[in-house]
């Protein structure tokens, strides 16, 4: 192995306003730690599924958001770790949605902003998982919850789309709502139900024994 491979030229970038020298194959998280950037605790799984390491990235004139554990360093890049998302404003408990027939009405009560999408594409551009967020929200607003939920399948709840939305739709929560009610109302697997019924009968028989 040559010295050149072992010590590749370092890359200079800014993380949280601090100049950091990193190896080219590092992610922003690794560069932040290697460069001793203080107070970087918004990091979780390091494999792009927990959605915690939210950053604002500036490359040249282009500004976007991303996940730091999946973003590789580039010379001249600026990265800023974002605080965790706040509590969602949209409150609901599944058990209070007892009737599947009025679910579209209830959805619009809980997420009144969802039908006000102005198709600015901000949520789509901000999604680190390549989800076509706007289409997913439109499906949910049309009451097509199963398809909407499927559109959000790879959503890691980083809620970067929420930051991007001028109408405060909270798209990630719209997607999760769609997925949850699909399971809550429609997932009724016969093999599981049959097993639960067997167990219930067994327990009932045990109780009947003297």
């Amino acid at each position: 192995m040559t010295d050149n491979v072992r010590h590749p030229a370092s890359v200079e970038l800014l993380i949280n306003g601090i100049t950091v020298h990193a190896e080219p194959q590092m992610t922003i998280v690794e560069a932040a730690w290697a460069g001793s950037v203080p107070r970087v605790t918004g990091v979780g799984c390091l494999e792009g599924v927990c959605g915690s390491c939210r950053i604002l990235v500036k490359k040249g004139k282009e500004v976007n958001v991303a996940l730091a554990c999946e973003t590789f360093v580039e010379a001249g890049m600026e990265a800023l770790f974002l605080p965790a998302p706040g509590t969602d404003r949209h409150q609901y408990e599944l058990t209070e949605l007892a009737d599947g027939w009025d679910i579209q009405a209830r959805f619009h009560e809980i997420f009144p902003e969802a039908s006000r999408c102005r198709h600015c594409n901000g949520c789509v551009q901000s999604c680190p998982k390549g989800i076509v967020v706007e289409d997913g929200v439109a499906l949910a607003a049309a009451g097509r919850f199963r398809e909407a939920g499927e559109a959000f399948f790879e959503c890691v709840m980083c809620e970067l789309c929420d930051n991007a939305c001028p109408e405060n739709i909270a798209p990630a929560h719209v997607g999760l709502f769609s997925r949850r009610i699909t399971a809550f109302f429609h997932l009724r697997p016969p093999n599981l139900i049959h097993k639960l019924e067997e167990i219930r009968k067994e327990q009932a028989a045990k109780k009947d024994l003297p």
């Binding site: 990091v43 799984c45 390091l46 554990c69 999946e70 969602d88 997925r179 697997p189």
Partner: protein, 533 residues
Amino acid sequence: MKRGLSLQAALAAYRPDTELAPLPELNDPDTLLNEHHPDHLRGSMTKLTIGPNAGADCQRELADLLQAEAFIDEADLAGAQVTDTDVLVIGGGGAGCAAALAAAESGARVLLATKLRLGDSNTVMAEGGIQAAIEPDDSAQQHMQDTLRAGHHAGDPALVAAMVGDGPEVIRWLIHQGMQFDQTASGDLRTRRAGGMTAPRIVHCRDYTGLEMMRVLREAVKQHRGIEVWDQSPVVELLSNERGQKCVGAVLASLSDGSMRIVRTRSVILATGGLGRLHLNGFPTSNHIGATGDGLVLAYRMGAHLCDLDSFQYHPTGLVHPPHLSGKLVTEGVRAAGALLLNGQGQRFVDELQPRDIVCAAIIRECREGRGIHTDNGGVGVWLDTPRLECSQPGMLEQQFPKLLARTHHVGIDPRREPILVYPTLHYQNGGIVIDVNGTTSVPGLYAAGEVAGGIHGRNRIMGNALLDIIGFGRRAGRAAALAEHDRGPKKITLEHVNRARRALTLAGLPLTQRAPQILPAYTAVGKDIWKP
């Protein structure tokens, strides 16, 4: 370690249609484990000298933390804000959320405190699935036998019986919370058979089972009016009564402003997870950044009995390459779906669906004996033959393992064309705090659930039992903690147990210099700075 092939040479020699020699027979699994499993590395074990497990075997790096000084003493508590609640849940992963929801459903006021963000946990990274005996040719008894056998009969049969019995109801409860699972065309839950199982029993949500579970539980907890959540609030110490014999609360630090807060409660549930980020024996880990074993340290200082502190799971298929994903997992589901393991000579060396400890030891043997594949930056591993799987079942990787493809895609690796280089990675703490079927520990007022608790998986866990364990025992602990009797009379909160532990350390002549819990890990990929040779 003998040097095998280089990655480039192995890739050049690889063909997905090479004829394979028959699998050599595994005659003596115990010798294989003794010679090659990391639990048996020389110098890896020591004996504890203080505390309830004094005299027991314990992994060396963990022993240092269990026998360390606390961070705080009485002076730190002066002026700290005090909050009262019925049940304090420590930990925001799957077990903590299940416990909080169950306690709230039982009518308790619940405070859930978590070190990082709610849901930042190993749960969110779980891929393969969750076990539940739901198929017609399967039974709870069979599930129990598989669990005990794979754990080398070291598990507590009462705990295992409770867990497997909960299986179908746990799945129903998860669906009720809004979690989706893969279905067959007729609407049945799709099941897989993985290592050490006698029937297909793993239900899953493609290879994102943990993510699907965690985002649903996180939302359920946040939306629940009976649960308050404190993010960025690691626990630095538990609180005891004036005799140091009952847990009556905890001290929480704030990562955002550094302040200390006291929580007074009638029950504390520890759901702090595992310790992969301690990088035991220098191994990379599949674990979340918060997995530093804090719960074990706090429980031990409080006087709780622990078990199997010398037994850890190294998952056979951790990624070796690319370096930033070192130690990250390739789900066992890929092997369950039919992928083979091949050494540097392109040959099979172990039945891929043996329990994880056997497969792990076999991979380490191949690499030590010069049949591994070496990368330029010092990594070594064997092939997980995904292209052969793709050839036999085209499209299957894309349909069932989107996470695997997504993670490797953005670094330019396509597992459908190139095999994946894998090596064992520190994955799971088999032992932990001793509990009964209600999550009760040997300390009154203190409960434990999830990976921090022990006794269920014996000395080796099989796939899909972790997610079942955390939900099943999380709910059991939550219910028991909520229904625990109120203490009458004045509530005194002290650090008497800390003083007792300090006396024991001094008497044993142990240094008081190391402090624990660790809370935040060494921020590097394998415990040392991997970027410097």
